[in-house]
């Protein structure tokens, strides 16, 4: 805080602080309180709101827990988001290492441009691209069949398609934090470990990964949160049997019109995300400030 005042002076620094507080209050705090408030109240027609029946209850949460299907979908969303996180991590770590420590400046620039180009497009369009690729008569099936790996086309839409689409959509959010972290690793550290007789595997496990853990934690938090809250990829690439929890939240709000139950579902998702984030940070022994930095 004092840093802000020192850098920008009291009037301008004060403006920034006030703006941030307004943003926090208007975009995070008030909507959050509103959500929690309505999640705890029953869904009533307008004339009855504020009347005798409008009391605080856990009914909406109980509905989620007791529902034959929704609890399961909730858990599947958590599990699939974790899967997306793991998949992007496994994919990104070697690439990030190569970019940050091995590649020449020229190679790095070309790679970054190639990776960024698809992200100039809208997320929906990118999802649609996967929709086309994974179609029954799409290029993936055609290619695999031409190679003789498949006898008949496979229906990719469903959980597999959703995970693939999301991994693609969020891969850079994993790549950049890890890449940044590894780029700050002194090359001599790797040389010293090798000189002392370390195998490549041990160098990564003992030297590179501990150094990159803040980046890894940040990437995992980003990807997990976005996957759990994603709507486009499941809507496009899912199948009737592979509903995502966000789709159910959407239905409560905009199709069924029960905002209270929708709010309860949303709060449940938010609470889960928050606990996973804190769990991840604890697992990596990273505190929130260093992760944000």
């Amino acid at each position: 805080m004092t840093e802000i005042f020192q850098r920008f002076g009291k009037p301008l620094g004060g403006c920034f602080v006030v703006l941030v507080l307004l943003w926090l209050a208007g975009m995070v705090l008030v909507p959050g309180i509103f959500m929690i408030n309505s999640s705890l109240r029953p869904h009533l027609p307008p004339p009855l709101r504020g009347g005798d029946q409008d009391v605080y209850l856990f009914d909406n949460f109980a509905y989620l827990i007791n529902h034959s299907n929704h609890g399961q979908i909730f858990l599947k969303t958590v599990w699939s988001s974790a899967l997306v996180t793991m998949a992007t991590l496994l994919l990104c770590y070697p690439v990030a290492y190569w970019l940050a420590q091995v590649a020449s400046k020229w190679q790095m620039r070309v790679m970054l441009v190639l990776m960024l180009v698809p992200y100039l497009m809208n997320e929906v369009l990118r999802g649609l691209a996967w929709y086309i690729i994974l179609a029954l008569a799409g290029p993936l099936n055609a290619g695999l069949m031409a190679l003789g790996l498949l006898d008949e086309p496979v229906r990719w839409y469903g959980d597999g398609g959703v995970v693939a689409g999301m991994a693609y959509a969020y891969v850079l959010f994993m790549l950049f934090p890890i890449c940044n972290a590894i780029a700050t690793l002194e090359k001599d550290q790797i040389s010293a470990a090798r000189d002392l007789g370390s195998s490549a595997w041990r160098i990564h496990w003992r030297i590179v990964l501990p150094h990159a853990k803040v980046g890894v934690a940040t990437g995992c938090v980003f990807v997990f949160m976005m996957a759990a809250g994603s709507y486009v990829a499941p809507a496009l690439l899912g199948a009737p049997g592979s509903r995502w929890f966000t789709q159910i939240v959407y239905e409560w709000f905009f199709e069924i019109g029960n905002w209270n139950r929708g709010a309860a579902y949303g709060v449940a998702l938010m609470a889960m995300c928050l606990s996973v984030v804190l769990g991840l940070l604890a697992l990596f022994r990273v505190n929130l400030t260093s992760a944000i930095k």
């Binding site: 001599d188 040389s191 010293a192 000189d195 007789g197 195998s199």
Partner: protein
């Protein structure tokens, strides 16, 4: 106890450990008949980095148990040379031998060398003892034994009980000692040192010179030392190789490099010197005559110097006398100023009558200072032909 004392203690204890190893090495050499193989041998090594030649065809022999230094300005390729020996780089051409074994396609983690980095490169996320024992961990030594060995080494470098600390909690000198303990843990045949003293302050650096030298002498481990500091190289080494622009200029004892430089680069890079340019008039049996704008001078020369060649005569400041009588050579000078250094003074004088003003340095001992010409006075400085050397232009 101040830092320097600390380090002195650490090294004296360290010797105990290393002398065991040296004893074993001596025993091995007795068993093997004939000449022991060189600790490090480079044969016609070349190194290219995308078109630029960092190392030009170079051969070098470092004897077992020698304190060998590579001295050169920054960017001369000396660190590249070190990396070729440690295995971080593979030469474009030529071969590297360590203890007589060809190191072609032997990776750095399989070589009998240990490197001390300029940055020390301690692992910041590991405790001190884990740092020291890292080489043993990579060799599959069990945890309890690793811990014991690390504690033993830490005791030897006078850091007992520091095992549980993190490197960031140590001072610069302590970190240096951890780096040495870490390198010694893997019992290397050759210790490669990449300007390890450059980060220390002057006083500690001068102290460490003596200590490193003593340590090396008493233990017999081969030290391969890289530096751009000529006084460091001259003070510590058995032999020094002077390097410039990717090529070796001269290999010899510090004394040889100082009194018999083979090239103009060595003459001017090693120690202080005065250069007088001119053209060779005659040369015969190790003596040559040089004629230039400042006069005609006689000096020693090496074979191959022909009359008509452009050359320079080099004479050290301490070889110049305030008296010209009785010397073959004399130089007309005007005194400019004195830099008092304590036991002696450096006098700066300009050549009189030259086309452009050039400064000449003379060392004047404390005793002769009262008889020295006053500032502004003209005088003739004499020097013997034995104290001057004439080297051809490159």
């Amino acid at each position: 106890m101040n830092c320097a004392e600390n380090i002195r203690t650490s090294f004296s204890v360290l010797d105990t450990l290393l002398s065991e190893k040296a004893g074993n090495a001596a025993g091995d050499m007795l068993v093997a008949s004939g000449c022991p193989p060189s600790a490090v041998r480079l044969s016609d090594v070349e190194m290219d980095f995308g078109g630029t030649q960092a190392i030009k065809r170079l051969s070098l022999d470092v004897k077992k148990g020698e304190f060998f230094s590579i001295l050169g300005p920054s960017g001369c390729g000396k660190t590249t040379l070190l990396r070729l020996i440690s295995g971080f780089l593979q030469p474009t051409a030529g071969q590297v031998f360590i203890n007589g074994r060809n190191m072609l396609s032997v990776p750095s983690n399989k070589r009998a060398t240990a490197m001390i980095f300029q940055s020390l490169a301690l692992f910041p996320f590991m405790t001190v003892w884990e740092n020291v024992a890292f080489g043993l961990e990579a060799r599959g030594v069990g945890k309890s034994e690793r811990r014991r060995e690390a504690e033993r080494l830490l005791e030897l470098v006078a850091l007992p009980g520091y095992g549980a600390r993190m490197p960031s909690e140590l001072s610069g000198g302590q970190r240096q000692r951890v780096a040495i303990a870490r390198a010694l843990a893997i019992k290397p045949e050759v210790l490669l040192l990449d300007e390890p003293l450059s980060a220390l302050d002057l006083k500690l650096r001068q102290h460490m010179r003596t200590e490193l030298r003593d340590l090396q002498k008493r233990t017999g481990v081969t030290f391969f030392y890289i530096t751009h500091d000529q006084s460091e190289a001259l003070a510590m080494s058995d032999r020094v190789a002077v390097m410039n622009a990717g090529a070796l200029q001269q290999v010899g004892t510090p004394q040889q490099l100082y009194s018999q430089p083979a090239t103009q680069f060595v003459a001017s890079f090693v120690g202080e010197t005065n250069a007088i340019a001119g053209v060779v008039v005659s040369s015969a049996s190790g003596t040559a005559v040089l004629d230039g704008p400042d006069g005609r001078f006689t000096g020693r020369c090496l074979a191959g110097l022909q009359p008509g060649m452009r050359a320079c005569l080099y004479v050290r400041p301490e070889a110049l006398n305030l008296e010209a009588n009785g010397y073959e050579n004399s130089l007309p000078l005007t005194m400019e100023r004195f830099d008092f250094e304590g036991a002696f003074a450096i006098a700066k004088a300009v050549v009189s009558g030259g086309t452009e003003p050039r400064q000449i340095s003379l060392t004047i001992s404390q005793r002769n200072l009262s008889e020295a010409p006053a500032v502004g006075a003209a005088f003739r400085a004499g020097f013997s032909s034995q104290d001057a050397i004439i080297l051809p232009d490159d």
